[in-house]
């Protein structure tokens, strides 16, 4: 980015996996920063994080921390966002919230820049960053939605363990070692750290991410359903989801079936995807080219392949969509929103 105005920026949740990626991206993208505040829990305050060659001491996040701040990126959990964002707004801060706290609030724009960047301008102090599995889905489907119309989405996810935090990654790697060595495994974190029953994630597939709601879907599945409709701005869009945790470190994969509202040629679908912002088409069966979590890890784009027509329904389309859940699925989408805000205020 290049503009003249410099901003006072705060990152809340600076020690978390997403917070760390946000800090790295702000530096790499040369975000126009005047002063950067790194905020954390009281426990982590005092730690030092390097930013562009400069050492920054973590401060405990409090209402007063936001004095003088212009843009704040929150990824310290829903409770912290619910508590601190109102104080930040009172101080005139524009808050980009990576938690689910305000996503479904009708007054809060829920933004994936490739899909609905214009909604940012409607904010009243908060712009919500969607759930990781939702972001890559809508980013890939938007060009097809716009061109052909879309009536229905049926998704099954293959989600990385990093979505549950560094402790979950550590648990998976430790379990993997133990299973290979023939040792017993005692799961302690996944699928949901706050729930009583734990399951082995190493060499397994767990069809539970987040708690269950009363209708038999999990909160993760309901987030995908509700957020997709909100971001696409289409309550008539039918969305069904099954969210599954698999033993992958970084990168969510999604098996996606969509029904379009008009006839399509596969070549045009591929061309639309290849030319869409933030999307990389990787679709060549002859060369065994398709998106893979291990290759999407560390990249900012969303990767799409296995594009093929349903053999029964000529308006049905299958796809495989992969993206780094901590980057486009979280930190990068948030920084993209921050960049847009900075450009608008230039």
């Amino acid at each position: 980015m290049s503009n003249n105005k410099l901003f006072n920026v705060a990152v809340v949740g600076a020690t978390g996996a997403v917070g760390g990626q946000i800090i790295r991206l702000l530096s790499e993208r040369k975000f126009p920063i005047n002063e950067l505040k790194l905020l954390s829990s009281a426990r982590s305050a005092g730690q030092v994080i390097s930013f562009g060659g400069q050492d920054i001491v973590l401060e405990e996040a409090k209402p007063e921390s936001f004095d003088g701040v212009e843009i704040a990126l929150f990824s310290a959990g829903g409770d912290v966002s619910r508590e601190l964002i109102p104080h930040a707004i009172d101080r005139g801060v524009i808050c980009i919230d990576n938690t689910s706290a305000f996503r479904m609030d009708p007054d809060t724009p829920l933004v994936v820049p490739e899909v609905n960047v214009d909604k940012i301008n409607e904010h009243r102090g908060i712009i919500a960053n969607p759930n990781c599995s939702t972001i890559q889905l809508v980013a890939a489907l938007k060009p097809l939605y716009d061109r052909f119309g879309m009536s229905r989405i049926i998704v099954s996810t293959y989600q990385a363990v990093s979505g549950a935090g560094q402790n979950a990654i550590n648990e998976m790697l430790k379990q993997s070692k133990d299973v290979i060595a023939g040792d017993d495994v005692t799961p302690a974190i996944l699928p949901v750290s706050s729930l009583p029953v734990k399951h082995q994630i190493a060499f397994n597939a767990i069809p539970q991410i987040d708690k269950f709601t009363d209708n038999g879907f999990t909160f993760e599945e309901m987030k995908m359903i509700n957020e997709t409709k909100k971001i696409m701005d289409d309550e008539s869009l039918e969305v069904t989801t099954t969210c599954v945790r698999i033993p992958v470190v970084y990168g969510h994969s999604e098996s996606v079936y969509v029904e379009l509202k008009s006839d399509f040629e596969l070549d045009e679908v591929r061309e639309l995807l290849a030319n869409a912002p933030g999307i990389v088409l990787q679709d060549n069966p002859a060369e065994q080219l398709y998106p893979l979590a291990t290759e999407a890890a560390g990249k900012l784009e969303t990767f799409v392949g296995r594009v093929r027509r349903d053999l029964n329904n000529p308006r049905g389309l299958n796809m495989w969509i992969v993206s780094d859940n901590l980057l486009k699925g979280a930190a990068w989408n948030a920084v993209q929103i921050a960049e847009y805000i900075a450009l608008e205020q230039e």
Copy 2:
């Protein structure tokens, strides 16, 4: 089993993963055996395998090997089945073939006993055992198909590496160790050993099982589509599949969406599944109970959970179906067919 007649049985492919499970099941189930021949490639001939306390020397599988044999179970690859089964039939052998060689032959019954056991009686020397991912799908869906009718199935699979053989398991475990140790990984087997491009399976999800067909689906996906229609005996049934290999050793998981032809109550769906032969309902969100590959491994049943209604389509139903791909998905289904044949000839 208990009956009076004893059979001369041959197992072709005795050294393979599925062959080994067939031998174990014949012993555990006390299959009424007079003489057991264990047949293999010339390379493995001479090895000794223990069966019920008896040592049996492997013989090279040749046309003459089938002299005097009454029932033969084949799992040594399609080429071996295509070559030897005609010779076995000439000798009056009833062949249960675990390969894809004859599955779609209109004169060959394709049997999952829970679904279409009566088809066994129509055989002309061969009964085909379906593909692993198909078997657990139709076993679980049949009671719902019969009660409510079914117009459509959309499946995404989470398939275990054992489906690609012991070498693939070894590759995955070795890669897992290397990744954890921070060492480089050089994939050599998966996704398809005979194709040039290899991908890492450790901590990854590979959306390719078997080679690609011209329509963009893989052979694995087409097998599921075609075999499901044949077993359900319903060409109008619409089936869409996405087959994905994940880092699991034993047990295929499937995220399944079906559209039923009539209204249903979820309680009745659960009751039908709970009472269906070969099916175990594991469906209690409050206790985080749902099928898991690690728990289905080593078991003969097909496990079903995450049963819930589509929020948009009142006749749409989501499910999670898991079974051991080497057992119900291969060896056990074949031995079930053999048991049926033995009982009929008692």
